[in-house]
């Protein structure tokens, strides 16, 4: 998943949590990057018609931006479920986050052929936890 899609996903999820635009600070915290990097990327996404930015309020995804954000969430969900159900990875959530930037959505689509995803995925995504809302990490 490319960097732009990771930003769109983060903006969309912060919007859901805040019920309003995503601020630069919130995005910088969530993505663990500097506020300057966030502002630079928001400018690029705005030029591409994927994000709208209101000064002092924050960024919101456009309809096309939302489509790409939900695709990105789905790619992440496929990865989580694939790691947990097929490769039996205990810390599937942390690994899914590590692998997310390297895995393209076409690859996730292929992996999706062998996992049983819920029909309402990715609507059941837990924005606060930034993870699939249905898969629970087993405690020791």
């Amino acid at each position: 998943m490319n960097t732009a899609d990771q930003y769109l996903k983060a903006i969309y999820l912060v919007q859901q949590i805040e019920a309003g635009p995503a601020s630069t600070g919130q995005l910088a915290d969530r993505l663990e990057v500097s506020p300057a990097s966030v502002n630079e990327m928001i400018g690029k996404l705005e030029e591409r018609g994927l994000v709208e930015h209101e000064k002092y309020k924050g960024a919101s995804v456009t309809r096309e931006g939302e489509r790409r954000a939900t695709d990105a969430i789905q790619t992440y969900c496929v990865l989580e479920r694939f790691l947990r159900n097929v490769l039996d990875v205990d810390d599937f959530r942390a690994e899914a986050r590590q692998l997310e930037p390297v895995i393209d959505d076409t690859v996730a689509d292929r992996l999706d052929m062998i996992i049983d995803r819920e029909p309402d995925c990715p609507d059941c995504f837990d924005a606060e936890a930034d993870a699939c809302g249905l898969l629970e990490i087993e405690s020791d």
């Binding site: 986050r97 692998l99 997310e100 930037p101 690859v107 689509d109 292929r110 062998i114």
Partner: protein, 162 residues
């Protein structure tokens, strides 16, 4: 989290190679099933050869990836389990007609190409010293990527000829 598309550890490299093994296994099993599902009238030699080669090639790629995974001391992918999962899901994801079979094959090869291409970039972007020889790793991945590109071309050619 990291936004960077680079491989940052042996464990991450092994996991990505395991995903490669799964993609190869999916191509292998689906190609085999496609052939079995073709009506006798559609079983042209050219298609039989193409699917046969796809099965053999994927098996070889899988073995090459597995030998690197082994050298990284990571766990083997449960290939039999993947095979049965692909089989279980095949009924609901199978192509509906002959053109669909070729398209699915094309999509499988294109996906594999994209995966190796991204993985090669992610290894090149990394300055980690891996538990396997970097030059050998990159050479293997590049060779497999080129084979996938040739596979895409072969399927596309066959589709054009129809």
């Amino acid at each position: 989290m990291s936004l960077a598309a680079r491989v940052e550890s042996d464990a991450q490299l092994a996991r990505l190679l395991q995903i490669g093994v799964v993609l190869e296994e999916v191509v292998e099993v689906r190609a085999h099933r496609h052939y079995q599902s073709l009506p006798a009238a559609e079983r042209a030699d050219a298609v039989e050869d193409l699917l046969d080669e796809a099965v053999e090639e994927s098996a070889e790629h899988r073995r090459r990836l597995e030998s690197i995974i082994d050298a990284l001391d990571a766990e083997e992918v449960p290939v039999e389990q993947i095979e049965s999962l692909v089989g279980e899901q095949y009924a609901s994801t199978r192509p509906e007609n002959f053109d669909g079979v070729l398209y699915d094959q094309l999509h499988g090869e294109e996906t594999a190409y994209k995966f190796y291409d991204d993985l090669i970039t992610a290894v090149e972007e990394s300055d980690v010293e891996f538990g396997v020889d970097r030059a050998h790793l990159l050479e293997t991945l590049r060779e497999i990527r080129e084979a996938e590109a040739a596979g895409v071309e072969a399927v596309a050619k066959l589709m054009e000829e129809r």
